[in-house]
Amino acid sequence: MVSLLRNQKVRNALLQVLYVGALAALVLAGVVIARRNLAEQGITSGFDFLYKSTGWDVNFSLLPATANDPYWWFFLIGIINTLFLGTVGLMLATLVGTIVGLARTSSNELARLLGRTYVDIFRNIPLILQVFFWYAVITHLPTPRAAHEAWGMMLTSRGLYVPIPNVGAIAFAAAILAVIAAIALPVWLGRTSRLSQPFGERLGIQLAAAATALATAAVILALGRLPDLPLLDFPALQGLNLKGGLRIPPEFSALAIAIAIYGGSYIAEIVRGGFKSVGKGQMEAALSLGLSPWRVFTLVRLPLALRAMLPILANQYVWLMKATTMGIAVGFTDFFMIVALTINHSGQTLETIGILMAGFLAINLSLAAIFNRINKAIALKGNQLRA
C-alpha cells in the first residue's frame, strides 16, 4: 500500500480523482440542499415556470411587454436591453475614447495635458459612483412643466424626450439598418481596394454608396409613414405630463453617459497604446516616400495602430457589456435585473442562476467570436518584424 502511494503514476491518478471528485461533490451537495430547501417552500424545480406569466412589468423594453407575458419573453427582453445598452454605451465610449486618445497622442502639449487630465480623473472614480451621479443629475432636472427645451427635444426629470418620425415599427427598423449601411458601406469599400484605384475615384464610389443607402432610408421612411400624421412627432406638454415623441428614460441615459465617460477613459489609453506601438521607422519610411502627412496617417499609422489595439479593445468591450449589470443600481431592466426580479418573484433560484450564466457565456463567446474574425481578417500575414 505504502509503496503504491510512492508510485508517481498512482499518485497522479489519485490526485486528479480527488480534486475533481471533491469539486463535483461540493457542487452536487449544494444542488441537493438547494432543491430540498426550495421544495420546503413549495417551489418545484424545472423550467416550466418559463411559460408562466410574470405578473410584473419592466420599465424599459424595445419589444412589447406586459405583466401577462411569460418569463422567457422577459429574459429575451432583458438580453436585448443589455445588448442595446451595451452597444450604445460602447459606441459612445469608443467615440469619447478616440477623441481623448488622439488628444493624448497629439503633438500639441496643451491637448495632451487636457487628455491626460480627463483620463486621470474619470478612470479613478468607480463606474457605479458615476452612474449614481448622472442618475441624480437627471432626476433633479425640472419637472415636465418647466422642461428645458432645445431643437424640439425636452429635458426633464422624467427623461429626455426627442422627436420621433411617425412611421411603422418595421419601416423604422429598416430605415435604421439603411443608415448603418450608409456608414458601413464606404468603410467596407475602402478596405477592399486600397491602392489599386486613384484616391479621387475611390472617394467618389464611397460617396455614391453612402448616398444610395441614405436615399433608401428616406424612401423607406416615406413609404412606412403613418397616415394622417405629421412626419415628425414632437413631444408636447399635455396637462402635467409630456405627450408624444420618444422618451429616453433617466435610467438609460444615466447608464449610457456613465459608461461613455468611464469606458472612454479606458479606451483612450488603449488608443494611445496602439499609436505608441507603431514604430517611428515605419512612419519615417512613409514620409520619405513622399506621402503627405494625412496619407501617412490613414495608410500607415492608423491601420497599424488599429491592429495593435483590437485585441485589447475586444476585452474592454466584453467588460463594458458586463458593466451594463449596474442597471440594477438605478432600476434599468437589463438581463441581470430581470434575473434578480425573477428570483424574487418566482423563487426558481437554481434555474434562473443557470440562465444567467448561460446568457453571459453566450454574450461573451459571441463577442469573442466576432473579434476573432475581425482580428484574423486584418492580421498582418507572416512573421513581420514589428519594432
Binding site: V20, G30, N37, S107, N108, A111, P126, F133, V137, L356
Partner: protein
C-alpha cells in the same frame, strides 16, 4: 588651441511659446481650443467649488440652497455618516483608527523591505486583526459593535482588505493548479477561472449574498457580509490567478529544472524558486488589479451594504439636504480618487523602475 564657439542667439520666451504652441495654423487652432476648454472648465469649477460656495453650517440648508455655488455645509454636517455609516456616534474614533490601520498597512506593503512572503503576511495579518478588534470590540474594554452597524469608508476598506487577503492566496493556488501537468486538474481549474471571469461581479455578489444560503447547510450560512466578501474574493482570485500565471510563464523553464536537479521537492521549488520570481514579474499587473478591485468594492451597495456610496446616498437622500447631491458625490469621488490615484501612480512608478532594472 582655442575654440571659438558662436552661441546661437538665445531664443526668447515669445519665440519659444510660438514654436511649442503655434508652429502651424492647425497647432495654433488646437492650442487655442484646448486653452479655451481648460479656462472654461477651471473657471466654472473654481467658481462653483470655491468663490460662490458656502462652507459653514451656520446658515443651515436654506441659506446654502440659495447660494450659486457648491454647498459644502452638507459635508460639514454629514461627514460622519459618510465616513462611518451607522457606527455608534461615541465609538466612531474606533472606526477612524481602524481606517488608519488599514491605510498604514497598505503603505507598509508598498515598501520593498516588506516584500517577502512572511513579512507581507505578517503586516496584512496584523493590520486586519487590528481593524477587526477595533471595529468589533467586545475585548479590552471596547464595547461590542456587530457587523450590521459597520458602514461608510470603514466598511469599504474592510471589504477591500479582506477580499485581497482571501483572494490573493486563492489566486496563487488557482494559478498553480491551472499550470499543473495533470490534465484533469488543469482543465477543471481552467473551467472555474474562465467561468468566473465570464460573469459580471454583480451577479457573483448577488449569488453569494442572496442565493447561496439556499445551497448551504444551516450551520455554514454565516453572516451576509462574509459571504459577499467570499464572492468578491473568488472574483478577484480568478483575475489575479491569470496575472500570477503570466508571471510564472515569465520564469524560464531552466529555473525549475535546476531546482529539480538539486533534489528540491515540489513545494520547495514552488515556494523558493518559482513564486518569488513570478511575483516580481507580476507586480505591476497585480497593483493594477488591486486598483480595479478597490473601485469594485463599491458594487456591494447593490446587495444592500452601507458602504461609503450607500452612506453618501443616505447623507443627502433624506430631508433637508436633498438638493446637495453633487457635493456629496464629489466628496466621495474625491476619497476614491485619492486612494485609487495614488495606488495607480505607485504602480506606474514600479513599472518604470522595473523596466529600467531589466536593462
Amino acid at each position: 588651441m582655442e575654440m571659438v564657439v558662436v552661441a546661437p542667439p538665445a531664443p526668447g520666451k515669445v519665440e519659444d511659446l510660438k514654436r511649442r504652441f503655434f508652429a502651424t495654423p492647425l497647432q495654433a487652432l488646437l492650442s487655442l481650443m484646448s486653452l479655451a476648454i481648460m479656462a472654461f472648465v477651471v473657471w466654472k469649477l473654481l467658481d462653483w467649488a470655491v468663490f460662490s460656495a458656502v462652507f459653514t453650517t451656520s446658515g443651515g440648508p436654506e441659506a446654502c440652497q440659495a447660494a450659486a455655488g457648491a454647498c459644502w455645509s452638507v459635508i460639514a454636517a454629514r461627514w460622519r455618516i459618510i465616513l462611518f455609516g451607522l457606527y455608534p456616534f461615541e465609538e466612531q474614533w474606533r472606526s477612524a483608527l481602524a481606517c488608519v490601520a488599514v491605510v498604514v498597512m497598505t503603505v507598509l506593503s508598498c515598501i520593498p523591505a516588506f516584500w517577502t512572503g512572511r513579512r507581507i503576511a505578517l503586516v496584512w495579518g496584523a493590520g486586519t486583526a487590528l481593524y477587526y478588534v477595533l471595529m468589533k470590540g467586545g475585548v479590552l474594554g471596547l464595547s461590542y459593535v456587530g457587523e450590521e452597524a459597520w458602514g461608510g469608508l470603514a466598511l469599504t476598506l474592510f471589504i477591500f482588505v479582506t477580499t485581497c487577503l482571501i483572494g490573493f492566496p486563492l489566486a496563487v493556488c488557482l494559478a498553480l493548479l491551472r499550470r499543473s501537468e495533470l490534465p484533469w486538474i488543469s482543465r477543471t481549474t481552467a473551467l472555474i477561472i474562465d467561468g468566473v471571469r465570464s460573469l459580471p461581479l454583480i451577479s457573483i455578489l448577488f449569488t453569494f449574498a442572496i442565493v447561496l444560503p439556499f445551497a448551504l447547510p444551516q450551520w455554514l450560512v454565516g453572516d451576509k457580509l462574509y459571504r459577499v466578501i467570499l464572492g468578491s474574493a473568488l472574483f478577484f482570485s480568478a483575475y489575479q490567478a491569470e496575472i500570477v500565471r503570466g508571471g510564472m510563464q515569465g520564469v524560464p523553464a531552466g529555473q525549475e529544472e535546476a531546482a529539480m536537479a538539486l533534489g528540491m521537492s515540489y513545494w520547495q521549488r514552488i515556494s523558493r524558486i518559482l513564486l518569488p520570481q513570478a511575483m516580481r514579474n507580476a507586480l505591476p499587473a497585480t497593483i493594477n488589479q488591486f486598483v480595479i478591485s478597490f473601485k469594485e468594492t463599491s458594487l456591494v451597495v447593490i446587495v444592500g451594504f452601507f458602504e461609503i456610496l450607500a452612506s453618501g446616498n443616505a447623507a443627502y437622500g433624506t430631508g433637508e439636504w436633498r438638493f446637495a447631491y453633487v457635493e456629496v458625490y464629489a466628496f466621495i469621488a474625491f476619497i476614491y480618487f485619492i486612494f485609487v490615484f495614488s495606488l495607480s501612480r505607485y504602480g506606474a512608478f514600479l513599472e518604470r523602475r522595473m523596466s529600467v532594472g531589466e536593462r
